[in-house]
Amino acid sequence: MTPVIEVRDLTKRFTKRLDLAGRIAHRLGANIHEEVVHAVDGVNLSINRGEVVGLVGESGCGKSTLGRMIAGILPQTEGSVLLDGKDTASLAGPESKAAALAVQMIFQDPFASLNPRLRVEQIIGEAPLVHGYTDRSGLSDYIDDVMLKVGLDPSLKQRYPHQFSGGQRQRIGIGRALAVKPRFLVCDEAIAALDVSIQAQVLNLFMDLREQFDLTYLFISHDLSVVEHIADRIVIMYLGRVVESANTEALFADPQHPYTRALLAEVPRLDQRKRNFTPIAGEIPSPLNPPSGCHFHPRCPHVMPVCKTEVPVLEKHQAFREVSCHLDTTDSHDINNHSAQSDSP
């Protein structure tokens, strides 16, 4: 089966170019040079039809950038995004437009993601009208239909975004994406800005829509406990690279990468109420100047000399399980002993 979305060696570098004054200062020997941020560094990922993939990582690890590249909002520096096996960059004309519409994005901030000057009917109805999903006479019914699907009262369609609550706004954003009949949704922290009581409602809406419209999701979040509920598979990113990818149950039962272990140890759980939480040692390093070798080595409890020099490769261990760590290739028994000590409260 061809995956809906496949990402090959996808890389995004942001370069801050020097202005004229900076270039002159550089020529004169000042310690100023172009700054390059490796936001996403050679990521490979494939997502099958109907799957819900959770993408988890600390803020600044490149998960949003990866999501935006998949959604076609940001151009990639290197690598390719394949939709149904076809490179989206190679498509042209109507095919390119169809590919762009097939992948839609749900944004984090329900305030900033809706144009404050447009009415709900304009927000939802603009793209279907422009792209010919409906005509002027059918537009009103089309909008009503979309609003009902996302749980909004169609009688509110004359209103402006500021007249809605956060949860309702997020529904408007989902409706806007659904109106162009996408097959793949990138949800970038789509429920992080909502009240906890509303979060569950919106999550349920996502799951209903998935069944109803045969959708596939990439669910970006910094919160493992949210992703645990809805994702079939979880991908963990650290500083622009994928460190581990596994089925949700497998990942929670037996995390392999030291970073995943550290993340899981911080998820609050009812059965471990009395334990002390120990933050991962150190800060996330600057992506301007990432550590050599394995990006996680300065914070890793199991660091070895090889970690500082060689970049670990993402290796397939079992079906649906990939880990990028030197420990697994050298001595897998050893980490279990180590981690038993370091994980105990």
């Binding site: 994005m105 901030d109 900033a112 993601s113 447009l118 009262d153 007249q163 809605f164 162009v180």
Partner: protein, 298 residues
């Protein structure tokens, strides 16, 4: 679900208006401004004399003090100028010209500046650098100087004055629009529009531009006032409009030579009219800025 929606049934326009009315000075200024505009618009019907019609202007009526009777019989409540124009009539006709020039220059500069600013924000790179350096150079010269040079080259007349004022003012709009457009286009709703495969033109015109309007309105008001002042300055310096169709600046300039001989009214009353016009526009603009600035939202 509906409770929250019913609380906010006030439309944005109603809220804008009630916030605008919070300042009494601004409301008073708006009233003064509306009266000035109304007087100027109705000038042919409420003035005893058409100061542009040389058949109605009698040089024997020249330099009469306020309250004198003209040869034709009507009373010149504000006196007359050196050429025998009734100052009350001349001021109303002068406000017409000043307002027309100010509004036309402000509007054209707004359109040109907006297009240039949006181009800079969206093209980026060298085009952006080129445009913004041009703006910097433009803004580093005093507006009067630029207008003066242009009028000297182009010659006199309303159209030429408007061209000179536009050339002196487009840069303010361009800079404002570029900055606002860059802030707006980084917002997620623009990303969403791009994700929906809408064309760049559509995104700029339908999504970005409407959200840049608030600062544009504010700059537009203040710059219109400054265009009127600039036109008066040019006319006062003698390079603006023709003597036969006097604007407020020409009237002030005409009366200036009589200032020291006790005939204060020839410069004084047009000066008051100009002051009222500019101050009221500026006060309205200030309040607009306060109301439309989202950072000052209570």
């Amino acid at each position: 679900m509906n409770t929250e929606a019913t609380v906010m049934k006030e439309t944005p326009l109603q809220r804008f208006w009630s916030e605008f009315c919070e300042s009494r000075i601004a409301v008073a200024s708006l009233v003064v401004l509306l009266i000035i505009i109304l007087l100027a618009a109705l000038a042919p019907w409420i003035t005893p004399q058409n100061p542009y019609d040389l058949a109605q202007v009698d040089v024997l009526d020249g330099k009469l003090p306020p309250g004198s009777d003209a040869y034709a019989g009507y009373t010149m409540w504000l006196g007359s100028d050196g050429a025998g124009r009734d100052l009350y009539s001349a001021i109303l006709y002068g406000i017409r010209i000043s307002l027309t020039v100010g509004l036309a220059a402000g509007f054209i500069a707004l359109i040109i500046g907006t297009v240039i600013g949006l181009t800079a924000a969206y093209a980026g790179g060298r085009v952006d650098t080129f445009i913004m350096r041009a703006v910097d150079i433009q803004l580093s010269f005093p507006a009067v100087l630029i207008a003066l040079v242009l009028v000297a080259i182009l010659g006199r007349g309303i159209d030429k004055i408007i061209i000179a004022l536009v050339a002196a003012q487009w840069a303010y709009y361009a800079r404002t629009v570029r900055a606002t457009a860059m802030v707006e286009s980084a917002k997620e709703y623009v990303e969403a529009a791009r994700c929906l495969a809408l064309s760049t033109t559509r995104i700029v015109i339908r999504h970005v531009l409407p959200n840049c309007l608030a600062p544009l309105i504010v700059i537009g008001t203040v710059q219109t006032a400054s265009a009127i002042a600039l036109e008066s300055t040019l006319s006062f310096l003698g390079v603006g409009l023709r003597q036969t169709e006097p604007s407020l600046g020409v009237l002030i300039s005409n009366g200036f030579e009589y200032m020291m001989s006790g005939r204060y009214w020839i410069s004084f009353f047009p000066g008051i009219a100009l002051l009222l016009t500019i101050v009221s526009i500026n006060l309205v603009g200030d309040q607009l800025r306060d109301v439309l600035n989202p950072r000052l939202k209570r």
